[in-house]
């Protein structure tokens, strides 16, 4: 099995940790109504933070003790230096969908406990043929039974139909929107597209808001920052 190292980002940052713990507590509450194992993370326009978000979400879920598989289903993305990206592993989901390798050989271990990673793999053809195959549905079923959560990172909806094809095979969709950049029109369009294929939209993530704005959402954000005065001191 291949291994992959993710840098710790969420743990470094107080505010970020707060945001992600709020998110997974919401996901936990939502799961009581309708269970979901496989999640598609997509956005309306490129560059709104899907890759960062899905990696961080997988890390946080793994940190909460869930066996999490992060899948890079962005089969078109080429690695660009300086841009947030997964470096390609030797095998990936494209190899599995083509039938070249077994699933367990393609999945990488990571430096984070409970977190597993499946890269896109090196695929040069048109991804649509892979995504339309039945093997994607089979993959989602197998992965969903083996892992608590499967998070798939996909291309943006405005670029191509990859994300729609993937959403059709997953239980739920998370739509990432960038604060102050994504328009309501974009989200309405995405909503219409996703409803047309009967996808279940879990909700919208407002990404890349300023920290000042984030702190305003809570009336007492700094309460735990300085530590609560200890009522009971251990002797």
């Amino acid at each position: 099995m291949q291994t992959k190292v993710f840098t710790e980002t969420v743990q470094d940052d107080n505010v970020l940790q707060h945001a992600y713990s709020t998110l997974i507590s919401k996901l936990y509450m939502l799961e009581k109504n309708r269970s979901f194992k496989t999640l598609t993370v997509t956005s309306c326009n490129p560059g709104e933070g899907k890759t960062s978000f899905s990696a961080s979400l997988a890390k946080v879920l793994a940190g909460a003790g869930k066996r999490t598989l992060l899948v890079n289903l962005d089969l078109r993305k080429k690695y660009k230096p300086g841009k947030v990206s997964y470096h390609s592993a030797a095998y990936g989901i494209s190899s599995y969908l083509e039938g070249d390798v077994e699933l367990n050989d393609a999945i990488c271990k990571t430096n984070i406990e409970n977190m597993y990673f499946l890269d896109s793999g090196k695929y040069l053809g048109d991804p649509v043929s892979l995504l339309c195959s039945d093997r994607l549905g089979t993959f989602m079923q197998v992965a969903g039974s083996e892992y608590d959560y499967v998070i798939t990172d996909t291309p943006a909806l405005e670029c191509n139909t990859d994300a729609l094809l993937i959403s059709g095979n997953t239980d739920a969709v998370i739509l990432v929107a960038k604060m102050g950049s994504t328009t309501i029109k974009d989200i309405r369009k995405a909503q219409t597209q996703l409803y047309a294929i009967d996808a279940h939209i879990l909700g919208v993530i407002l990404n890349k808001s300023s920290k000042r704005f984030y702190k305003k959402l809570f009336s007492a954000p700094d309460y735990f920052k300085y530590g609560k005065p200890a009522l009971y001191k251990s002797v």
Binding site: L23, H87, M179, S181, I184, S209, K211
Partner: protein
């Protein structure tokens, strides 16, 4: 019509297929409920855009101010003003048996000084002064526009001011008009009730133009334009600005707000 909201987006999504129609109905139901619960998003968004684009108000205000100051201050031709002061007391009009001037005379003359303003601009005075200034070839309309008459409230002193780009011309016109006025008045009233106090000298420096009104107008026009631009920008702005926008305009649940951070590229 379900899409009746102000923000331009709703008109675009006129329901033309089954899914969108279903969405529209859901929207309508949700909105009826929202009317009671939501605070005013339109106002909130406008105020946000207003603050975000406040620099435009400052910029256009400064541009408006600058343009008017240039046009009316620096760009204008320097003008010179020459004043002739006339005292209009009727010493001969009083009863000949009395040699002194009483208070009643002063009151009467103060009222008269208002009439003089009309007399100075009359055709007769203008034509007479034009004859005096025959060497300069000024047509009556221009002469009329050069002259302004002012008197303080109920004062017996009338100031005849001539304004011109040429200092010498202003002085001569002022004096000529005053002379014509005095002789006309003497002819009309058969008295010698008026006399020149101060003859105009040669004005040495141009008058400061009184353009405060125009400059303020320029400032206001600049600010007004900026506010109109901000309003239009806000009307067509459908970008997500607040957390509430998602639920208000799309009816999708909000999962979380994630702050900005610098992610180091994964190894």
């Amino acid at each position: 019509m379900l899409f009746r909201r102000k923000r331009g987006i709703w008109e675009i999504y006129a329901a033309d297929n089954e899914t969108e129609r279903t969405l529209a109905v859901q929207d309508g139901e949700a909105r009826n409920f929202m009317e009671f619960t939501e605070d005013n998003m339109e106002l909130k968004r406008f105020l946000y855009t207003f603050l975000r684009m406040f620099w435009l108000i400052i910029l256009l205000g400064a541009v408006g101010l600058g343009v008017t100051i240039y046009l009316y201050g620096y760009g204008a031709v320097p003008v010179y003003a020459a004043d002739t002061k006339i005292f209009t007391l009727a010493k001969g009009s009083a009863d000949s048996s009395r040699n002194k001037i009483d208070y009643q005379d002063i009151l009467t003359n103060r009222q008269l000084s208002n009439d003089y303003q009309d007399i100075i601009k009359s055709k007769k005075v203008i034509e007479m002064s034009q004859r005096q200034l025959s060497g300069m070839k000024i047509d009556p309309d221009r002469l009329k526009s050069m002259i302004s008459v002012s008197s303080q409230d109920n004062s017996s002193i009338v100031v005849i001011r001539a304004v011109s780009a040429d200092a010498g011309e202003a002085g001569r016109v002022s004096l000529a008009v005053s002379d014509s006025f005095i002789s006309t008045l003497e002819e009309l009233t058969k008295t010698d009730i008026v006399g020149v106090i101060d003859e105009p000298g040669l004005p040495s420096s141009p008058v400061q133009p009184d353009n405060l009104k125009q400059i303020l107008m320029g400032l206001l026009i600049g600010i007004g334009t900026a506010i109109i631009i901000i309003y239009i920008a806000d009307f067509f702005d459908t970008r997500i600005r607040f957390k509430e926008d998602i639920e208000h305009y799309t009816k999708l649940p909000m999962l979380a707000v994630i702050p900005k951070y610098n992610m180091k590229s994964a190894k």
